[in-house]
C-alpha cells in the first residue's frame, strides 16, 4: 500500500505548485494535473486490494517497520475507493469551473490550496487506524471544506450558511472526542483495531451508541440534524458542494459502520431507532425537496433523503445483528454500502450539472430556467441519467441498491417472523413512497429546467469539454452499476464478510439472480432504442410539425406563462402543508379587470423552523444575557483566562 502514500504525496505536491507558480491559470492546470495523476495512481492499488478477496489486512509500513497508524481493511478500502473514484471526475470539472471564476477576474488561489488538502485529508480519514489521527484528519477535512465554502465570502448568505456548517463541525468533533476517550478507557488502546465493547457493559454501550449516532448522524445529515445541509450546500462553490454532498457526508456513514464494528451485536431497539429516524429522513427529505425553488437547496434535501435510504439499510443490518441472522445483515448493510457508492456518483453528477447551469444562467432559481435542452441536448441527457438514477428507476444504479434494501425488508419478514412481516410491510410502503416522491421531484426539475421556452434569456450557453467529460464519467458509472451489478455486488459481499459479518457463507447478496436483472435492463434499453428509431422513421415519413402551446384561446402568450415548478408540485405540497410549513400568498382577483397581482409560495422546514432555530435562539439569548463576558477588549479575555487557569490550578493542587 506504499503506492497509496506516494499518490498522496503527488496530490500534496499540488499545494506546492500553487505556492511556486504565480499565474493563476498555470497553477490551476498544474494542480489539477497533479491531482488527477495522484488520484488515479491511488485508485489503482485501492481497487486491486479491494478486488483480491483473500488479501490480508495491510498495515502501513515506514521503512519496513510496521506501524499501526493506518490500516487498510476492507471497509476502509471500500470508502477510500469511493472517495478516489468520485474525486477524479470532480477534479476534472473543478478545472473548468475554476477557469470560469478566473474569466471573471477572481483569484482562485484559495480554492487551489484548499482543494488538494481536502482530498488528502478525506482519504486519510477513512484509512486511519489511530483515533487521534482520525480526529485530526477529520478536523482537517471539515476545516478545509469550510475554507472552500467561504470562497465568495462577501455574500451574506455565504457567511451565515458556512457558519452553520462550522458550528455543526465543532459539535461533531466535541462529541467524537468524548466518544473516543470513552472507547480508549474501555479498550486501553487508541487503535481502531483494538476497540471492542460488548453489550454486557450496559449503560456504557448505550451511551457510546448514542454519542456515535448523534455525531456521525449530524455529519451525515439525518433528519433532526440536517439543518446545516440546505444552508451550506447551496452557497459553496459547485466543486465543494458536490464533494460535500457526494463524499463528506458519507464519512458520517463510514463512522456509523466503524461504530458497528466496535460495538456489536446491537440490541434490537437500536435497529428500530435507526430505521425510524432514517425513514423520517427519507420521506421528509424528499418532500421538502419537492417544495424548493433553489436547485442546489433541492439537491441538498435529496441528500437528506438518500442518507435516509442508506440509514434504512443500516437499520435493517442492526436488526439482523440483534437476531444473529446473516442474510438480513448482509442485505441491510450491503444495500447501505452500495447506496453509499451510488449516491456519491449520481449526486455528484447532479450537483455538477446544476453548477454548469448556474455558470451559464447566473441563477439557481428553477422558476427562472427553461428550454435548456435546446441549448445543450447532450447535457440534458446526462442530467436525465442522474435524475433517473437518483429516483431509483430501472435500469440505472439507484434501482440496484434500493432493490437490495427491499430484498432486505422481505428477507427480514421471512426470517424473523413474529411481528416483523407487518412492520416490514410498512417500511416497504414507506420506501416505495420515497421513490415515488423522488420521481415526482425529478420530473419537476427536468421538465421545468430543460423543456419549454427560456424564461430568462440565455445570452451565452457554453459547456466545456471538461464538463462533458466529468458528467460523462459519472453517467457511465451509473450505467455500469445498473446494467452489470455483479462485480460491484461481489466486492460488497467481500467487504461485508471481511469486516462485519464473519462466516458469511450463505451470501444472500450473491443468490439474487443478477443475470436476469441485467437481462431485463438490457431489454428496457433495447425497447427505448427501438421506440426512438421508430419515432425517427415516422418523423421522416410524415414530417414533423411544431405548433405553439394551446393558451385557452389567449393570443399573446409569453414564456412567463408556462407551467412553473411551484404549480407542478403544488398538489403534492398542499397535502403535507402542516408538516411542510408550505404556504402560498395570493390575493384572488376581485374585479373584472384585475390589477397587478402577485403570487408567492414558500416552504419552511418544520424541523428547522419549529425545533432547531427556536432552540438556537434561546441559547443565544441566554448567552447574551451574561453581560460579564461582553467586553470587546482582548485584555479582559486574557484576564478571564488567567482567572480560570488559577481556579483550575487551585482545584488540581488541592486534589493532590
Amino acid at each position: 500500500m506504499d503506492m497509496f502514500f506516494y499518490s498522496l504525496a503527488i496530490q500534496l505536491a499540488a499545494v506546492l505548485a500553487v505556492i511556486l507558480l504565480r499565474s493563476n491559470r498555470i497553477a490551476s492546470a498544474a494542480v489539477h494535473l497533479l491531482l488527477l495523476i495522484g488520484l488515479i495512481s491511488g485508485l489503482v492499488p485501492t481497487l486491486s486490494a479491494l478486488i483480491v478477496a483473500d488479501a490480508p489486512v495491510q498495515n502501513f509500513c515506514i521503512c519496513g517497520i510496521p506501524n499501526d497508524l493506518f490500516r487498510f481493511d476492507a471497509l476502509g478500502l471500500y470508502f477510500l475507493a469511493i472517495v478516489q473514484l468520485v474525486a477524479i471526475p470532480t477534479t476534472i470539472y473543478s478545472y473548468s469551473s475554476l477557469k470560469h471564476y478566473m474569466d471573471k477576474g477572481k483569484s482562485v488561489k484559495q480554492l487551489l490550496v484548499v482543494y488538494p488538502i481536502l482530498l488528502v485529508a478525506t482519504q486519510l480519514t477513512v484509512v486511519s487506524n489511530h483515533s487521534i489521527l482520525f480526529l485530526v484528519c477529520w478536523e482537517l477535512m471539515s476545516t478545509t471544506a469550510y475554507l472552500g465554502m467561504v470562497f465568495e465570502k462577501e455574500k451574506r448568505d455565504v457567511q451565515t450558511g458556512s457558519f452553520y456548517y462550522l458550528v455543526m463541525n465543532h459539535v461533531v468533533v466535541f462529541i467524537l472526542y468524548v466518544f473516543f476517550f470513552l472507547l480508549h478507557r474501555q479498550a486501553n488502546s487508541w487503535l481502531f483495531s483494538d476497540f471492542h465493547v460488548s453489550p454486557d457493559t450496559g449503560s456504557l454501550f448505550i451511551l457510546l451508541y448514542v454519542l456515535a449516532l448523534v455525531a456521525f448522524g449530524m455529519k451525515a445529515g439525518f433528519m433532526p440534524f440536517h439543518f446545516w445541509l440546505p444552508r451550506a450546500h447551496p452557497i459553496a462553490p459547485t466543486v465543494f458542494s458536490s464533494f460535500l454532498s457526494g463524499i463528506i457526508i458519507k464519512t458520517g456513514i463510514y463512522g456509523l459502520f466503524r461504530t458497528f464494528q466496535f460495538l456489536n451485536p446491537t440490541p434490537e431497539w437500536l435497529g428500530w431507532l435507526v430505521l425510524t429516524v432514517s425513514m423520517i429522513s427519507a420521506i421528509f427529505g424528499v418532500w421538502y425537496a419537492l417544495a424548493q425553488h433553489d436547485i442546489k437547496r433541492l439537491l441538498a434535501y435529496h441528500s437528506v433523503e438518500n442518507i435516509g435510504i442508506i440509514g434504512i439499510g443500516i437499520g435493517i443490518g442492526f436488526i439482523g445483528s440483534a437476531y444473529h441472522s446473516l442474510p438480513v445483515q448482509v442485505l441491510g448493510f450491503g444495500g447501505a454500502l452500495l447506496h453509499t457508492l451510488n449516491h456519491a456518483i449520481f449526486k455528484s453528477l447532479l450537483f455538477i450539472g446544476s453548477g454548469v447551469i448556474y455558470q451559464n444562467l447566473g441563477t439557481r432559481n428553477i422558476e427562472l430556467m427553461g428550454g435548456i435542452a435546446r441549448r445543450g441536448r447532450f447535457f440534458a441527457i446526462l442530467f436525465l441519467v442522474g435524475s433517473v438514477a437518483i429516483s431509483g428507476i430501472p435500469p440505472l444504479n439507484g434501482f440496484i441498491s434500493e432493490f437490495i434494501i427491499f430484498n432486505g425488508f422481505f428477507t427480514t419478514a421471512r426470517e424473523l417472523k413474529n411481528y416483523y412481516p407487518l412492520l416490514m410491510l410498512v417500511s416497504t410502503v414507506g420506501l416505495a413512497f420515497v421513490g415515488g416522491l423522488a420521481v415526482a421531484c425529478f420530473t419537476k426539475i427536468n421538465s421545468i429546467m430543460f423543456l419549454g421556452d427560456e424564461r430568462k434569456e440565455i445570452k451565452h450557453f457554453h459547456i466545456s469539454v471538461y464538463d462533458y467529460l466529468s458528467l460523462g464519467i459519472f453517467a457511465m458509472l451509473c450505467a455500469a452499476i445498473g446494467f452489470y451489478p455483479q462485480p460491484f455486488v461481489r466486492v460488497i459481499n467481500d467487504v461485508l464478510s471481511r469486516s462485519f459479518v464473519p462466516g458469511n457463507s450463505s451470501s444472500a447478496l450473491l443468490s439474487i439472480n443478477w443475470f436476469y436483472i441485467s437481462l431485463i435492463f438490457l431489454a428496457i434499453l433495447a425497447g427505448f432504442i427501438l421506440i426512438y428509431i421508430w419515432k425517427r422513421r415516422i418523423n421522416k415519413k410524415y414530417g414533423r410539425k411544431i405548433s405553439p402551446a394551446w393558451g385557452c384561446g389567449y393570443e399573446r402568450l409569453n414564456p412567463r406563462m408556462q407551467y412553473t415548478a411551484s404549480s407542478f408540485a403544488d398538489q403534492l405540497n398542499v397535502i403535507s402543508r402542516t408538516v411542510l410549513g408550505y404556504h402560498k400568498r395570493i390575493k384572488p382577483p376581485a374585479e373584472i379587470f384585475p390589477a397587478k397581482n402577485k403570487f408567492e409560495s414558500h416552504a419552511d422546514d418544520f424541523v428547522d423552523s419549529k425545533i432547531i432555530m427556536p432552540w438556537f435562539k434561546k441559547i443565544n439569548a441566554f448567552i447574551s444575557r451574561i453581560e460579564l463576558l461582553n467586553y470587546s477588549d482582548i485584555r479582559y479575555y486574557v484576564a478571564f483566562i488567567l482567572i480560570v487557569i488559577s481556579i483550575y490550578s487551585l482545584i488540581g493542587f488541592l486534589w493532590i
Binding site: 470587546s632 477588549d633 482582548i634 485584555r635 493532590i656
Partner: protein
Amino acid sequence: MQNVLSIIFCLSLFYLAVTSRVKAYVTVLQIQGAILTVLLLYPLIEHFSVPALILPATLFIVKVYLIPKYIKKILVDLDIKRIIEPTIQQFSFLLLIIFTMTVVFVATNILSKSTEIETIPFASGFSAVAVGMFVIIFRKKLIIHVAGFLVLENGIFLFGSTIASKLPMMIELGSLLDIFVVVFLMGIALNKISSTLSGFEATALRRLKD
C-alpha cells in the same frame, strides 16, 4: 546548573516589570531564548548525539535571532513609540509579580513532595506563564502583547523541558514553528492596521468589532 539558569530566567521576568522601553523587552526575550538553548544543550555534554542538536539550534535561530530581529524591524518600519504605556504603576506590577511567584514557588514546593518534579525550573516556567499573561493584561501596546505571548511560550517551554524529557522532539519543533507563525501574523496584522488605527493599542482594536 539547571537551577541557576532557571533563577536567571526568573530575574529576567522581574526586569520586564520595571522597564519602560520596548527595546528592553526584546533584549529580555533574547536572553530568555539563550537561556533555554543552554538548558537544552546542557544534558548533551554527557550523551552527545547529532539529531539532539536540531532542537537547540532551531530554538536559538528562532528565539534569539529571527523573532527579535523581526520585532525590531516592525518597530522601525511602523515608527512605534519606544515607551510602553502601562495601565498600572511599575511598582505595583512588580509587587504583583513577586506575589504570584511566591505563590507558585510555595505551591510547587508542596507539590514536589508528592510528585516527581524539579521545583525551581518548574516554578520558573509556571511563573513565566503567569507573567506573560500579566504583561498582556496590563499593557496597552499591541507589540508588547506579542512579547507577553512569547514570554508565556518560553515559560511553557521551560517547564515542558523539565517535567518530561520524553516529550517528542517533533512536538517541541512544532510549537516553535507555531509561535514563529503567530509572531509573523501579528506583524502582518500590525502592518495592515497601521493605516487605519493609530497608536497600536489594544483599546483601539475595539473599534474593529462589527
